[in-house]
């Protein structure tokens, strides 16, 4: 146990004394989030309301009028078509409750979300319940906060997986055929299980600390509150951190590529997943969700990003438990597979 704690202390000390690691773990994420917040909050401020035509006789014409982001024109059917043709509006809410949109894009997606919610509302109305159109419909479509929230939560999702780098580093310290230091440590009476477990504990702690720091930064500096549900958010961050390190362990242990290859591999993979999750702006995310919905369902960056958003902005726990369990189970599986790869202690070549 004493050795376990000395391994933990070693890992924490190394993380805190490595200026490169500190920069990429703490400074770079803050810089990136700041850049994104500046860029996208500006865009959001300048975002125009979506022009729509609502045909006379639409049962929810009054409700549509109350939605802030819509610029509604109540017109007749033929006039509405002319407006759409002349590109004066992005869509038409027709009297028969169908929706006609001009093409593909952010505005059209928002209109589709509203249209689908109106249909649901219609069913409820038919059942005789009362309706409140003042706030919910756009929020439910995850679009209320627009690009800022999407990009920030995707970035958070990416940073929450930064434990990957700690994972590959642990393996390169203990697997004799991967580095001279590992060869040296392998000649000592070190317990690998103890070393790997200590690396996991310290890695999860550092990774979670980093993500929580970013959450506080967003809350205090940019007034973006992703800590409205702190305990569930913390649990998600811990599970994601554990998963990130487990991926690092697996990539580290399953092959003999040098660190110089494994680090860029991780960076590229995370950037790709983050882009798919909307870090570069929502259009790519929308495209993927339309054409490859399974990809973003199990894209870990998107799972984190979506869950953080739902927990803290929509106050919804949808998919929270499922995602935490997926991260935990996948992490355990990857750790076991990594230990199997690492069971070899004598090598044909070093």
């Amino acid at each position: 146990m004493k050795r376990f704690f000395s391994h933990v202390a070693l890992n924490v000390k190394m993380s805190l004394k490595d200026k490169g690691s500190l920069f990429w773990s703490f400074i770079y994420p803050i810089l990136l989030l700041t850049l994104m917040a500046v860029a996208f909050s500006g865009l959001q401020a300048g975002q125009k309301p979506i022009a729509v035509a609502v045909e006379s006789g639409h049962p929810f014409a009054g409700a549509l009028q109350q939605i802030d982001i819509l610029d509604v024109q109540n017109v007749r059917g033929d006039e509405a078509l002319n407006l759409l043709r002349d590109k004066d509006v992005d869509g038409i809410f027709r009297a028969d409750c169908t929706l006609l949109v001009r093409g593909e894009g952010m505005n059209e997606t928002i209109l589709r979300e509203i249209g689908s919610e109106l249909k649901k509302a219609g069913s409820v109305y038919a059942a005789g319940r009362s309706l409140d159109f003042t706030k919910q419909y756009v929020e439910r479509g995850d679009q209320k906060e627009g690009m800022l929230y999407v990009t920030l939560s995707s970035s958070l999702g990416m940073f929450a997986l930064y434990g990957y780098f700690a994972g590959i580093s642990i393996v390169h310290h203990i697997q004799a055929n991967l580095s001279p230091l590992a060869a040296r440590l392998s000649t000592t009476p070190i317990s690998r299980l103890s070393y790997v477990s200590a690396g996991l504990v310290s890695g999860v702690a550092m990774s979670s600390l980093q993500t929580i720091g970013l959450l506080f930064y967003l809350k205090w500096v940019w007034k973006v509150d992703y800590l409205a549900d702190p305990w569930r958010t913390l649990l998600l961050v811990l599970a994601a951190g554990f998963f990130g390190i487990a991926v690092g362990l697996f990539i580290g242990a399953s092959n003999r590529w040098p660190l110089k290859a494994k680090v860029p591999l991780g960076i590229s993979l995370m950037l790709l997943l983050s882009a798919a999750s909307g870090m570069m702006g929502p259009p790519l995310r929308l495209f993927i969700e339309k054409n490859l919905p399974w990809l973003n369902r199990y894209n870990p960056v998107n799972m984190i990003s979506r869950t953080i958003y739902r927990l803290n902005v929509l106050e919804s726990t949808k998919e929270f438990s499922e995602n935490v369990v997926i991260f935990f189970v996948a992490g355990v599986f990857l750790c076991i597979a990594s230990l199997l790869f690492m069971r070899k202690r004598q090598f044909k070549s070093l």
Binding site: A183, R184, T188, R345, K348
Partner: protein, 311 residues
């Protein structure tokens, strides 16, 4: 007592035979040098002894037990100083040594005592709080050694610890190794520097192409070749008569003259130089300068392998 042995060990890397029926052993209290050019199999032999490398044939034992990577008792008794600098660059000198010592000793007081001793032993007291990455090359080498010896091992393996080290640090390292040996540690030292093997080792094993070409004390190895001492003279009058006279002096086996320098070969080495000088004086053969070369390990190596050690 035998500390370690390798018997008929064969290690192949695909088609390359790194160890070719390699044999050697080390007894308690010895400093044994594994001498050979780069690629001769020295590091492979050490890695087999450490249990890091598997081998195809033969037997390897340390402290009378077959080498196994899971044998923690044996690992507790050995120390290893690798050729590559292997420590945590971000940590301080003290933290590095403390961590490595802590892998062997769990008692904090004893461990801290070991750390103090190791720092003093390698002369890094002034740098104890420095981050390892900020040390100079020579000081990093010393730290590399300290991490491997802090736990006071009975048997220490040094794999070319002085590569790319300045003369001052090299002397410091060699003196330290002698001191460790005086304190009871058995030492295995690999090098491709002849001078180090000559200066340090009780016994030398000459390796080439994975084979044990010869082993013994320095004197025993030199006896394996035709031992001659070469005396280089710059004569004031290198006439044929003078050269004929020199050839008659007892112990002289050959005399030659080239570009004003006369080379006189004496055998056995180290015994006839004073006689030669007296005879030159008696025959009034004068010279402006002189130097003598005793046979070296390189001569032995050249004789055994047909190539110079640094080739």
């Amino acid at each position: 007592m035998r500390v370690c042995s390798m018997r008929e060990v064969v290690k192949r890397y695909k088609k390359v035979v790194a160890l070719n029926r390699f044999n050697f052993e080390i007894n308690e209290g010895e400093i044994v040098g594994l001498l050979g050019p780069n690629g001769s199999g020295k590091s492979t032999a050490i890695n087999c002894l450490l249990g890091l490398l598997s081998f195809d044939e033969g037997e390897v034992e340390v402290f009378g037990r077959r080498v196994s990577p899971d044998d923690m008792d044996t690992k507790q008794r050995i120390g290893f100083v690798p050729q590559d600098l292997s420590f945590f660059a971000e940590l301080s000198v003290t933290d590095n040594i403390r961590y490595f010592a802590g892998l062997y000793e769990q008692n904090n007081a004893k461990r801290d005592e070991m750390v103090r001793e190791a720092i003093a032993f390698v002369g890094l007291e002034k740098y104890a709080k420095f981050a390892a990455k900020k040390l100079s090359g020579g000081l990093k080498r010393r730290l590399n050694i300290a991490c491997g010896i802090a736990h006071r091992p009975e048997f220490i393996m040094f794999d070319e610890p002085t590569v790319a080290v300045d003369a001052q640090s090299r002397n410091f390292i060699l003196e330290g190794i002698k001191e460790m040996n005086r304190n009871g540690s058995t030492i295995l030292y690999t090098t491709h520097y002849l001078e180090e093997a000559q200066e340090l080792c009780d016994r030398i094993v000459i390796m080439d192409e994975g084979r044990n070409m010869a082993s013994g004390t320095l004197e025993e190895l030199i006896d394996l070749v035709d031992p001659t001492e070469a005396v280089h003279l710059f004569l004031t009058d290198p006439s044929d008569a003078a050269l004929r006279m020199i050839a008659e002096i007892p112990g002289v086996v050959d005399v030659s003259e080239e570009n004003g320098k006369t080379v006189i070969m004496l055998t056995p080495p180290g015994q006839h130089l004073s006689t030669l000088l007296e005879e030159l004086k008696r025959h009034e053969i004068y010279y402006t300068s002189l130097y003598s070369e005793l046979p070296t390990l390189n001569d032995v190596f050249l004789k055994l392998t047909g190539k110079a050690l640094r080739d």
